[in-house]
Symmetry: C2
DNA sequence: CGCGACGTTGATTTGCCTCAACGATTGTGG
DNA sequence: CCACAATCGTTGAGGCAAATCAACGTCGCG
């Protein structure tokens, strides 16, 4: 068997122990895929079939509202997950697009496979519990940050926390993730340079 | 044994089945408490020890920033959970206050009890997985709503979704939850009345 | 009764948006 | 391999949604 799934297996082993048998079964349920830059893997109106783990590359999940403005829910690079989580969990049509920002390699698990996996080896309940608890705690922090901080402060915080993303993710995507326009991000950066001097 | 824990047991049984033995063990780990209006059960600097399920009453989780403004992360009434989830999950000092808005009765479970419970009866892994997955999906929707909608639209959506909260929760708490000032909420409501006529 | 908590209203200010024009860089088809 | 288009970021002018501040009304509670 190829070890294309190794990054994800290593990721999971940070949270639960896996025997060779369990690992093999897990891998039998996974799909390894190449996603070309700008390719869309989730779109509104279609159920989000997969949980997507990024092996290499970067992706963005975003909403387009009635006025045509886009709003970024999530950004992801190596070792992160991305999807329209609401659509995935409830198996209802998505509201979001999920799109590759770079040529990417991903590992996907579909909803039924996930259920079967948890039934076969209940320890995966534990893995998904930990995963979603951590994501939830993180989301709460993000909401607080959005509620309590100015655009400049949020950008500052983001740069500290994710210097890698600042380098690789287009500015319009970062601005949209942080909740302001990309023009305004330009102006923030200009102010910032002044401050440093 | 008293059945003060019945509401929570019923809640849990919506997601997993429980034998009498499991139920009894669960209840042995719970605490039933009365919280007086304005009483604070979580505060910054102290680890959030409990997950809190509201049996009766209402509560609010909020952050006070450097300028002294408060920002509401969560509101809760009967049959909802509330806590500083980040603090609880990671067992680190909280950033938030959690306060009763009315005289309230709650059921609390502490972090160690939760771990023991899941070890003793692994099916509780499943319960907490489902719980956090649903909360996570909900949080993502809230972020999208905050990113893509105006103050008026968010209030409209909130009123549709939680008519009970509109009646029972003070306006300043709702405004703060939705991310704008309570003065502005006054003005929104005024506009709204005009529209209806 | 009197005080404190909550909500309202109006005047003014401001953080961020919108629009438009313009470089710089990247990608692509001839 | 070049020309041209598309994409991305920057800059400035003007505008708007919502904040801030201050004053006032009202209600419930000690």
């Amino acid at each position: 068997m190829s070890d294309q799934f190794l990054p994800l297996v290593r990721y999971i082993k940070k949270y639960i122990e896996l025997s060779d048998q369990e690992t093999a079964y897990l891998c039998s349920l996974l799909h390894y895929r190449f996603i070309k830059k700008k390719q869309i893997i989730v779109q509104p109106g279609f159920v989000c079939k997969y949980r997507t783990y990024i092996v290499k590359g970067s992706m963005r999940a975003y909403l387009i509202d009635q006025e045509g403005n886009d709003h970024t829910l999530a950004l992801g690079i190596e070792d992160w997950w991305i999807s329209d989580y609401y659509s995935y969990i409830h198996q209802v049509p998505a509201d979001l697009f999920v799109e590759a920002l770079e040529d990417s390699y991903v590992i996907q698990m579909d909803y039924n496979a996930e259920l079967i996996l948890m039934e076969t080896y209940p320890k995966f309940e534990r893995f998904f519990r930990i995963l979603s608890q951590r994501a939830l705690a993180y989301m709460q922090r993000r909401i607080l940050s959005n509620l309590s901080k100015s655009a400049g402060e949020r950008y500052e915080e983001f740069s500290q926390k994710y210097p890698l993303l600042i380098q690789r993710i287009p500015q319009y995507a970062i601005a949209s993730y942080l909740g302001f326009s990309s023009e305004f991000l330009s102006k923030i950066k200009k102010q910032r340079v002044k401050k440093v001097n």
